[in-house]
Symmetry: C2
DNA sequence: TGCAAATAACTGACCAGTCAGTTATTTAGT
DNA sequence: ACTAAATAACTGACTGGTCAGTTATTTGCA
């Protein structure tokens, strides 16, 4: 079991940073949660800033593997539904949402971290979705006149906004909206837009 | 000109809070920007936390008037285009985006502020858009089987995601995406979805 | 002159980062 | 296998700097 300490510390750090933000987080609290003392953190990380960066790098690296999206012979409906549902569950996971919020909140102070997240998480996921959209467009299953990268990201945005507004800003305590309704509406909107289909065939 | 000092201070405070976040912002910097000294802040605000809350309350209150959306006899195309374009320009304004980021970043520490923002800004704007969507749906210009509140918010989400990813996280430095392309894709997506229209009538 | 507004100097709490000392673990010699 | 020596991991008290909040002093206006 080589080097479990750094991971132990980073796990604690992520929780504290997510709850308090970079500045308000204290190394003593992080150390306490990790079951060590502050001095020990300095055996593995050269300072608070490094700990923050390393922790996010570690978490971001781990996040990449999570979304495998093999777009085999799947229909447009299935693709959209799967993307929307997985985005929805992702943005309702407290931890993931907290990391997003943390990055957004600290983007000014740590632009390189923000950019790494963009490159390693957002772009990678976005390209995967865009790729699937392209394939279906080539097969004539989806329209081909939209930039698949932009369309894919917009699709995720439709879900993201509910994570931020309902969960993070606590909107659900004022106006609850069920995940089912969000999923249904977003999927339908993504497929057919506000005008709907001319022919309401099938379904 | 009664009481211009508080506003002067809050303007400075907003800038500093937006750039640094609540914890890292210092009263000395805020005071300096406002052209006063720290002690003066305490003549008008009882402390840092109060200043933060009051500043956002003031800014949030001011934001409500901005989006007037008279949905007269407007077509579906015009409505969507107008919503998308105004959201787009809003989320590219540095200050607005910073306030959103600030709220997101500090939502854990100031849940009541986050909720106020939700209630007074998000919900109000959302209802306005939903209202317009409903009217058009009743006239048969838009499909009526979607929850207009959810659809309207999702629409804004499509734009929000580009503000966050491209501007705030600095994604445009890695992969620039033009506002024109975003607008075109989102509008088209919102109206007709990924499948497009059966009959591509008109333009 | 009187007094509110503003300043500037000050205080005390907090916290990142350091380090001397302690404990646990590994190595190596018999 | 035993243990002494060496090394690595860890601790907790301490320091120096920062900053919210307070107080004493000055400014300027009626």
């Amino acid at each position: 079991m080589p080097q479990k300490r750094p991971v132990q510390i980073m796990e604690a750090a992520l929780g504290v940073f997510a709850r308090r933000g970079f500045s308000a987080a204290t190394l003593d609290e992080i150390a306490g949660r990790a079951g060590v003392t502050k001095g020990t953190i300095y055996r593995y990380f050269s300072g608070k800033e490094t700990l923050f960066i390393e922790t996010l790098r570690w978490k971001i690296g781990g996040a990449i593997g999570e979304l495998d999206m093999p777009e085999g012979q799947e229909s447009a409906e299935t693709l959209v539904e799967r993307v929307v549902r997985s985005a929805l569950s992702l943005f309702h996971e407290r931890e993931f949402l907290s990391v997003v919020a943390l990055l957004v909140g600290e983007a000014n102070r740590f632009p390189t971290v923000a950019k790494r997240y963009y490159r390693d998480v957002i772009l990678v996921m976005n390209r995967t979705i865009a790729q699937a959209v392209s394939v279906l467009a080539e097969r004539g299953k989806l329209r081909a006149d939209l930039d698949p990268l932009i369309a894919g990201r917009a699709l995720v945005g439709m879900v993201l906004v509910f994570g931020l507004s309902q969960e993070l800003l606590r909107g659900k305590e004022i106006l609850p909206i069920s995940e089912r309704d969000i999923a249904r509406t977003v999927i339908s909107l993504a497929l057919d837009g506000l005008r709907g289909r001319e022919s309401r065939a099938g379904r």
